[in-house]
């Protein structure tokens, strides 16, 4: 027994490296096996005047049972790289987006965001709509003229910096329910449920 221990001690670093490698490998693999998939997760991208959003817990309670994770991606429009963040994390990964009007002027709106049907326009509270070619792509949540807003905990700017804000749904989202154009997605309406809760915060 002493000989065995002595032989192990001679090359102890090799055994330690192996054990460390094993820990890293299995942690990574089990992380991959159990990671939350896009079908089980809703991402909300918020681009407003501040980085704070303190009503996450209330929003999280509203998530449907099939949604395992609700992720908030809060950015400020004053950020140097906000446009890049919007493209990567917003348009690229999010299901729901809250954005100021100045970032919704380009022609890609119709390509990027899902069309909101009249039924849903009446179902979801709003202060107006964002229309392109007669179709609704966003619901107004803050009006800079009347200073009225549906989500009270966001910073919409002040004075000349104040803007109209809209809530939009990413066309690629898997949680749009009947708004989705893809077949079989109508059962997953998590984004609509979360949006309804958001609009009453």
């Amino acid at each position: 027994m002493k000989t065995v221990i002595g032989k192990i001690k001679k090359n102890i670093w090799l055994y330690l490296v192996w054990i460390l490698a094993v820990c890293i490998f299995w942690s990574w693999l089990f992380g991959m096996l159990t990671q939350v998939t896009k079908e089980e997760k809703i991402v909300v991208f918020i681009g407003s005047g501040s980085l704070s959003f303190d009503r996450y817990d209330e929003l999280n309670k509203a998530r449907p049972e099939y949604i395992l994770e609700l992720e908030l991606n809060v950015h400020t429009t004053a950020e140097k790289n906000f446009s890049e963040s919007l493209n990567i994390f917003g348009i690229g990964e999010s299901d729901i987006l809250i954005l100021p009007e100045s970032y919704l002027q380009n022609e890609s709106t119709e390509v990027v965001y899902a069309e909101i049907s009249a039924a849903y326009c009446s179902l979801l509270p709003n202060l107006g709509t964002l229309e392109r070619n007669g179709k609704v792509y966003g619901l107004k949540i803050h009006d800079k003229e009347t200073h009225e807003s549906l989500i009270s905990c966001l910073d919409y700017g002040e004075g000349d910096g104040e803007e109209n804000y809209y809530i939009l749904f990413n066309r690629k989202s898997m949680h749009l329910g009947e708004l989705s154009s893809s077949e079989g997605a109508s059962e997953r309406d998590g984004a609509i449920v979360i949006a309804r809760r958001l609009l009453s915060l």
Binding site: Y15, V22, T34
Partner: protein
Amino acid sequence: MRELYSKERLLRLRSAIKRSVLVAVCVFLFFFIICTTVCFFTDRTNATLLKIFNIVISGVGGCVVIYWVLNRILPLIARRDYMESLLFSAGRTVSGTVEDTGIVSTVSRYIYARELRLINDEGNAFLLYWDNEIPFPDLNDKRVELRIVHNRIVAYEVTK
């Protein structure tokens, strides 16, 4: 002259290496199959438990294989190489009186040898090595004739 090494011994050594490698592969596969099977039964409810199980199993399995490789396979390979270098090299014969220094040193990795001093008829001393794996026949203070390859003794004969 009595030979210390033979081709039969080398063949036995080669098959011992093959067996040892096979054992290592089998042990590795055994632990690998257990861990892979566990992965197929993983879901979010049992992930932490099965992860710890896999870490322990593959940690222990890997350490066993490493121990086996370091302490069984590599020494056997080193001995095979050592024997091959002695069996297939041309040696030379020297004679004289042997003095056992009693020192055991490493002649190459995993190979230990007893240091002997051979004093020839002209009074010159040579440092020679006797493989520590082979029982030393007490040649101390005896006149011998030795066949050596690179200072390693491969055959000996006690002369009068």
